[in-house]
Symmetry: C2
Subunit: 385 residues, 2 copies
């Protein structure tokens, strides 16, 4: 087995408690040695490997960990987006449009579209990615979407409870029974997680609880969408069930924040969604100051957030959610890792995966200082993890 050294790193962001200094564990003039996709040594510039990659004195960070996407879908919703920008409010109802397109697409078409998006995400510096289903919304298509997703990442999430499909409108409880029954049975072999959209117009607390508990019985880990479009029971339910993460969290009461802070559940923010739906940005400062663990994810999907740009998410989190640059960088890397229950990604230290990005910039501050500029010059990863 041959070792590779990423050398001449101007500034290395490790996110490690034991290596480097400051809130993101930086080392100036560093190098990193890895072997078979795993980091074996982190130290000053000049460490030795069989192969050498020159970082040209630029900044190197852990690859982004994107813990929330809906990447397998067909069609787009540019029309809905355009009318939203002209003033029509977002209510999530467009999910049914993507469901129709996804059901109609062949598996080869879904694989090809997903592959192109995974490639785009890789260029944006994403090296670990979660993918949810939720555009099948029947037994066959949920399983099919998850089978496609599992060809790209181990972090697959069954989300039959994304929205009640057309054919079950007015019969939400019947649909929940299907999700918890045959659909779960077909989906579980291809999924690591289960998720539900706990929001007015989607699923209430009892329905969401039923779905997540069924998932737990089938051996899946739990996550939840909540508190996106208004106050609601999502955050409290996620804490009650011990979800790894509750996602969106735009509207939180003091009680929500207290409960989250006392739990192991991560609050995952999706700032590009608030951007693309023209919703208010969540007050991350308030949650972080109260002790809540946070992550940032892209929520890449064709309705509310059609972007793979984690860099933009980081910039928005700082500009509009009042996070520090260091908090935002951590949230997009090690924060996402915690939201996925992963210890092997999000940090650069021995034993972690050799998932790293080289920025065309001297420091991580430039991710926010240079908004919109595609700064990720190189993404190093053995495979999307």
């Amino acid at each position: 087995m041959s070792a590779t050294v990423l050398d001449n790193i101007g500034q290395l962001v490790t996110n490690s408690d034991g290596i480097g200094t400051g809130p993101v564990g930086t080392i100036e003039n560093a190098s990193v040695v890895y072997e078979n996709g795993v980091i074996v040594e982190v130290g000053p510039a000049g460490l030795i490997g069989d192969e050498r990659i020159d970082a040209e004195a630029r900044c190197v960070l852990p690859g982004f960990v994107d813990s929330h996407t809906h990447l397998v879908f067909a069609g787009d919703r540019a029309d809905e987006f355009t009318s939203r920008m002209a003033g029509r409010p977002y209510d999530g109802g467009g999910i049914r449009v993507t469901t129709a397109a996804t059901r109609a697409a062949s598996t080869d078409e879904l694989v090809a579209a997903t592959a192109a998006r995974i490639e785009e995400a890789g260029r944006a510096g994403i090296t670990t990615i979660e993918i949810k289903s939720g555009y099948g919304l029947n037994v066959v298509d949920e399983a099919r979407v998850l089978e496609v997703a599992s060809g790209f990442t181990p972090e697959t999430t069954f989300m039959g409870a994304h929205l009640v499909p057309e054919e079950f409108v007015g019969r939400t409880d019947d649909y929940v029974d299907l999700v918890c029954g045959d659909m779960l049975s077909a989906a579980a072999p291809h999924a690591r997680w289960i998720d539900a959209f706990c929001e007015n117009g989607a699923f209430d607390a009892d329905q969401s609880r039923a779905v997540l508990e069924a998932g737990r019985s089938a051996g899946l880990g739990l996550r939840l969408h909540g508190n996106q479009l208004g106050h609601g029971p999502g955050v409290m339910l996620a804490v009650e069930l011990g979800c790894a993460s509750v996602d969106h969290c735009t509207y939180m009461t003091d009680s929500d924040i207290e409960a989250l802070a006392a739990s192991d559940t991560v609050a995952t923010y999706l700032p590009a969604t608030d951007f693309s739906t023209r919703q208010p940005y969540p007050d991350a400062r308030r949650a972080i100051d109260a002790g809540v663990s946070v992550a940032i994810a892209t929520n890449c999907n064709p309705g509310s957030s059609y972007t793979t740009s984690m860099s933009l998410c980081v910039a928005l989190a700082v500009r509009d959610m009042l996070m520090t640059i260091e908090e935002a960088v951590r949230a997009a890397t090690v924060g996402g890792a915690k939201a996925l229950g992963r210890n092997d990604v999000g940090r650069i230290e021995p034993g972690c995966r050799a998932d790293m990005i080289v920025l065309d910039a001297p420091s991580y501050h430039h991710l926010v200082y240079r908004p919109g500029v595609p700064l990720v010059a190189r993404t190093l990863t053995s495979a999307m993890s």
Copy 2:
């Protein structure tokens, strides 16, 4: 001379009054023939040329016209940016930091740094670019910066009146005399435009008027920075003097808007600056509805807006300034052209320069629908114009 055809264009945005339909003059399934850098024919797919470039059914737009940058400088101001994101307000004082670094840099260093930024701007789809001086702030260095800039673009702007330099603090009128005298004489041979920063803490209306009138006497066109950090006399002065453009326009009274609407002066918005200084976004909707002509530019500079991403500017203009997608696309192309007094760029029609960008997307809506994604797949230009 050989003709090239850009063929198989899925959606062509012409911005032409006579070609195509709708507010940006679109044609589906189009091709464009150009010769010696000038467009000679626009029509349906399948026009004939000696060489053929396949747009692969994607969207093609006029190259972006970036009418406001400060691209020639040395150093960066990531530290100032970081402390601003932590709550320190922006007052423009950091211009002096860049001035010190720029004066200390060799001409070769300035050329190399500018070339890298021009290349980045080209990848972002910018095919016409204005560059201001304003980090020399003495006779020798203002002329030197403009000489460097004129190696990259004909649209160079003398902006000795950017800020009063350290050595003239407390003696603004003496500095204005220098700007209008020896500095203008040294700068004018390398400049097409003159500009001043009319704002509290920089130059007042009389001082700005003196600078612009001196510039006019030296044969330069007029532009002005105004109304960025608060209400002020900038807009009215720009209209009074017949400036081609007044830039920033964040704070405007009803009278400012009325005066602009009745004039030929363009209001140039710089949304990435409002993003990076955490200032409020201007209400472009109000100005456009009153009949004001608008442009969008990046204001690329190391202090208040270190980006070349016109796509992000367009997205911000829609999301946060309430422009329609079509208005924002026009503002970033033909709007910028008007702000520079140019008829040969910003549109795709016979006689215009063959400056075009191919988006990795089926329609121009994706510039806003896919925020942060580097969608410009290819930039076609004979040279930065």
